[in-house]
Amino acid sequence: MSLLAVSNLTKRYRRGGKSIAAVDDVSFHIDPGETLALAGPSGSGKSTIARLVLRLVEPDAGRIEFEGDDFLALRAAALRARRARLQMVFQDPLAAFNPRATVARVLDDPLRIHGIASRSERPRRIAALLERVGLAAELASRAIHEISGGQRQRVAIARAVATKPTLIVLDEAVSALDVSVRGQILELLLDLQRQERIAYLFISHDLGVVRAVAHRVILLDAGQIAESGDARAVIDAPRSAIGKALVAAAPRLHGTRR
């Protein structure tokens, strides 16, 4: 059974009086421990799918099954409880945190909300989480704006794994980082996946990165699935027009190996 099964997902937005389908009848699934990449040009609906899967916005039609349950049927407290299993990392690690927060508070929230650790136990848990993502425990007392972009994204990952999720949605999670930091963060993500069997919905416009980290890929075009399949097979030999265009536009695709 798959971890996440999305079927016929549709989301329309009104723009200038007429409604446009940002996501149009999209179906896919993700297995436990698997990385599924979503790629496609800007405005093709990648972020909208991420937000739909996380129920940050509600779909107009379709089904989302998560861990065998009808995810869209969950209400209020039941939904908040289930959110522990399904986490997200955003593109801009500065915008993703309350500007007044400290690292400790950011990591304390999920532990407290989901009752994962008692108050006295939490500082130790926070230190362990920081260590898990390759940061010094002393960082806990710093304000979010006092640490580097790469460190911030590690904190975002620590927050996401704090509740031991089975799926993490990564919306352009490495796109804002410079190349050397990007490599380290990807390494960390792969390491976490190997050890804890976390599945990723990996959104990226960088086909080189997708080819390196994803098992399967879905290419989106104007809210619809243009092509999908094994990541390397699709990127090495795209069949759809949008796939060919994306590959042609991607710099230095060759030589990246997963």
Partner: protein, 276 residues
Amino acid sequence: MSRFRRFLRTPEAVAGAIILAALIAMALSASLLFPGDPQAIAGPALLPPFQDWSLPLGTDRLGRDVLAELFHGARTSLAVGLAAAAAALAVGSVVGTLAGFAGGFIDEVLMRITDAFQTVPSFLLALAFVSVVGPSLGIVVIAIALGTWTGPARVARAEVLSIRERDYVASARAIGMHPLAIAFREVLPNALPPVLAMSSVIVAAAILTEAALSFLGLGDPNRVTWGGMIAEGRTVLRTAPFLSIVPGIALVLTVLGVYLAGEGIVETTAVRRGLQ
């Protein structure tokens, strides 16, 4: 520290701060320097200022010490002004945050209520409220706050509308935080700066409204108020103008001080934010 230094380099702000400090000193020292009832008879009636150094500002129609009244009046003015402004800012921020964050029906209802309050001139609202409920310090505070919370509510709502679309609010939802916790822990503190920037104007207006209510005899009768002193002095305006002029000057200086100091703070913090 540099914020403080920048504040010091703004002459208006420093002038405001000095006036405000003097005022606070007056309010705090009132019962030390002038113990006992400031409304008690202290000497002959209508003694002009600078005649008798035990009564430096003279006495009023009933022989009460004007300087003592001035000090105790500072206390009322400041207390009412600050309390009313704090209440207005608190209520406004909470209403604005709830409206902006909840959206939909709740927003609609809260904003219609805000409209309703805003269409009535705030002074009339205060006047009506005190006339109906009766004058006491607490009631005057509520009466003033009733007419002033709508401004902060609108500003807070506008700010919240932009903040609620930010990623960190989505993050808070994604980790399963309760919507009320998101509204009041994540959103409200970040929506506060522009709301707090209104506080100097609100405090100044509240002090003036309190004075006006007292002038009309709707202040707390057990307290000395500057508005009440001006009203008292009006009856002998020809013969003893100082009785109205002294509290009038105090009122003008206070409002000016609050406004200048408040603007100075906003200015220096805004500059700082602009530089970042």
